[in-house]
Structures are given as C-alpha cells and as structure tokens.
C-alpha cells in the first residue's frame, strides 16, 4: 500500500493532465509497476492516464508513432514492417508476460529501469520522444535521456520511429529468462551491395543508460559486410563500465563482444537471404 496517496484524478485530455501535473506531489499512473518496485512513495495523488488517447500504434506514410500508453505485450505482438521489428523482439524479452500486460512504453521511458530492454533498440532506430508541456514537441532519445525532460508538468505522449529499411538485430544475455540482462546489444546497418553505408550500434546495462558506440560505428561504415575482419572491429574501445554485483567487467566486456559478433552474423544471414 502507498499510504500517502489520498486521491486519484482521471483527466480526459492531455491538456487537463498537464494542468493537474502542475500540482505538487501528483504523479502520472500508466502501468503502475514503477511505484511498486521502490518508486517514489511520497505522493499525494495519482493521475490515471487511461482515458487519454495514447493507446495506439499509428503508421503515417512510412513513419510509426507509438502512443505512450501502448503496453509491452501489444508492442511485442506488433508486426513492424522493417528493422523496427527489433523493438518488438526486445520488449518481448523484458520482464514477464504478466508484467508486460502492465508496462507501458511511456512509463518505461520516464523511468528507464534496467529490465526494460527498451533503450538500446530505440537508440539505433533513432527514436524521437514526443513530450507534451515541454520546450519542444519531439526530443531525440539521447537528448531526452541527458536532459531529464520529464521533470515538472510534462507528459510523454508517444515515441516516433522513422523508417528503418536496413537490417537490425537485438540480443540480450541474462542468467535466466526473467532476470535483468547483464548486457543487451542492438545493431542497425544499412548496406548497398554489401557495403555498409550506415552503422548504428547501442549497448545497454553496461552504464546507467544505454549508449551508442560511435567509435565502432565509424570503423564499420564503408566496410564490406562480408569482411572477415569485422568481428575484430566490434571490440569495445577502452571504456569504464558500471560495476555489476554478479559479474566482472572483463567478463561483461567479453560477453558484449560475443553478442556483437552473434548479431553481426545474424545480419549477414539476413543480408544473404535478401
């Protein structure tokens, strides 16, 4: 029980929600899982977001906009038309079936917990986060993560994904299916006649938030996808990673390289199949 909570508001519009969020000690409630896992207990009221029209995944020309209240279970089942399918794969492996029926993409972005598997694929897909009540309407994900946009009377309303016509792959490693991943990797490559035109690579759970790795991206760009030296190029530059209670940094860096090699092989097979 969250004893401090005294009332619930149920706004019917985003505008009404923003007005209510300007009150102190009011928090938006989407799936609710953040609050039961040690989320901020010092609340006076919750804002039930369910009546807001943010439950749909909309395809507009080739762009896709995911409403902030879309649940992980629905996202996992969605048939994305191109490499954006790695997002479905990633969220299908997050938490558990029963929790995926609660967790929303907006709520996960607001708190980006370690188990959500969301950030690495969104980074390589160059997602933009739609925020109501903020200085700008859309934020590129790296800017969104860095600037802590969600403080104050703002509300994540959606995630915009541009087309991803290239090849994508995602892998995670955890001790068990349900466990938080020790590391997860997402890679997106665009190739023309086997030459890598665009390389995007993101790693999660090695630091507080997932990151793109521009050094490796630069090494890959312009290379032939079939080049036998590519696996060597996937080795991480010397970086400090956040400590982990169960595994050494050396193990995790080696694991990361192994996962990247596996993902590269997967993309090679996709390319060959095409």
């Amino acid at each position: 029980m969250i004893k401090s909570v005294r009332r619930w508001y149920r706004p019917a519009s985003v505008t009404a929600a923003l007005e209510l969020l300007s009150k102190k000690r009011v928090k938006p409630y989407a799936g609710g899982t953040s609050f039961q896992r040690g989320g901020n207990p010092d609340l006076h009221a919750f804002l039930d977001l369910r009546q807001l029209p943010l439950h749909e995944i909309k395809e507009q020309a080739r762009d896709i906009e995911i409403g902030a209240l879309v649940r992980f279970s629905d996202l996992a089942r969605y048939s994305f038309p191109d490499a954006r399918a790695i997002l479905s794969l990633a969220v299908s492996q997050a938490a558990s079936n029963t929790l995926r029926n609660l967790i929303t993409i907006g709520g996960s972005l607001a708190d980006h917990p370690a188990w959500s598997n969301l950030l690495a694929p969104l980074l390589v897909l160059e997602a933009r986060i739609k925020v109501a009540g903020a200085a700008q309407e859309y934020y590129p994900l790296p800017q969104f993560l860095q600037e802590k946009i969600c403080a104050g009377a703002t509300l994540i309303t959606g995630v915009h994904l541009p087309p991803a016509p290239g090849f994508g792959a995602y892998r995670r490693w955890a001790r068990t299916r349900f466990d938080y991943s020790v590391v997860d990797v997402a890679v997106y490559l665009e190739c023309r006649q086997n030459q890598i035109q665009c390389a995007r690579l993101a790693l999660g759970n090695l630091w507080a938030t997932a990151r793109r790795i521009p050094e490796i991206e630069a090494r890959l760009t312009g290379r032939d996808l079939r080049d036998p030296e590519l696996p060597e190029l996937l080795k991480l530059p010397p970086v400090k990673i956040a400590p982990h209670p169960g595994f050494s940094s050396a193990f995790r860096l080696n694991l990361t390289h192994q996962l990247l090699c596996a993902v590269l092989q997967q993309i090679r097979e996709q390319s060959h199949a095409n």
């Binding site: 409630y29 039961q36 009221a45 938490a95 558990s96 349900f178």
Partner: protein, 156 residues
C-alpha cells in the same frame, strides 16, 4: 474512496484506500486464492485477470481498475465443477503445495482463450512470470497441453 468494478462477474462497489494494491483488496474481500508470494511482481502467485489479461495483482493499485472487470481463481470455477485446466494439472501431477497454481491456471486460461493450440514454447512464454518451487514445471506444461487438447476435442 469508492470504486465500481465487475469482480468475478458480479458488479461490486468497494470502499478502498486510494493507495492499496489489488492484491490487498481482493484478499480483504475473502478472495484468498490470490496469494501474497513476493509482493514484487516476481513470483506470479497473485496473478488475476484484468479485462481478461493476466496481471500481477501486487503491481496494480485497485483504484486503477475502476470500471473494469477482474477475475480471480474463484471466478473461474468452484470445487463442484473445476475448470478443465485445474483437473488436468492435478492429473498430470503438476500440483504439489498448490501455492503457485491459481496464478498459473489463470495465465493458462488467458493463453488458451487466444491460442487454442499452444506449443510448449508458447506455454512457457505465457508462464514466464510464474515461479514454482515444487514441480520443475514439466508437469505443468504437460497438464496445460492436455487441457488444450481436451478443449479442442470438445470433450469438456
């Protein structure tokens, strides 16, 4: 505060604390088939159906289900006429202490509503939020497969 919901098929008006969890509410209503295992969404023993979807009741605040439908194990069947999933789990030897079973039955029920012929992998995915310390899961999967077959064969 007061909320209205449909609980096990019956319209109810409940007085609740605004910050109480669905698990707390259901157990206080005498629906003790919903178990408090971990209280953190890890074990699945508190799983109920919210608008037909299996969710961890310990992770939901009751006020959030206002106007919706919640089904517990008590709403699925009773001792006089157990659901086929329950009987097949028992026959398969999938019930030892029984603490995890109500949540598993509800997740399995929701799965079979959408996938009448689930593969073993699909059953495992549907149950990936349920921990069982007793059985090792093999008999649970077998029991659910048997139940699915009986339903498909029209034998229930």
């Amino acid at each position: 505060m007061q909320i209205e919901l449909t609980l096990n098929g019956v319209f109810q008006r409940l007085d609740i604390h605004p910050g109480e969890t669905l698990l707390e509410t259901l157990r206080s209503q005498g629906l003790t088939g919903v178990k408090l295992g971990c209280g953190h969404g890890d074990c699945g023993s508190c799983v109920v159906l919210w608008n037909g979807q299996p969710v961890n009741a310990c992770q939901v605040l009751t006020a959030a289900v206002a106007g919706d439908s919640v089904t517990t194990i008590e709403g699925l069947s009773d001792l006089t006429k157990p659901h086929v999933i329950q009987t097949e789990l028992v026959k398969a030897g999938a019930v030892q202490c029984g603490f995890c079973t109500p949540g598993i039955v509800l997740s399995a029920y929701a799965l079979l509503q959408n996938k009448p012929h689930p593969t073993a992998d699909e059953i495992k995915t549907a149950l990936d939020g349920h921990l069982c310390r007793c059985t090792g899961y093999v008999k649970i999967i077998e029991g659910i497969q048997n139940a699915a077959q009986l339903i498909q064969d029209g034998k229930v």
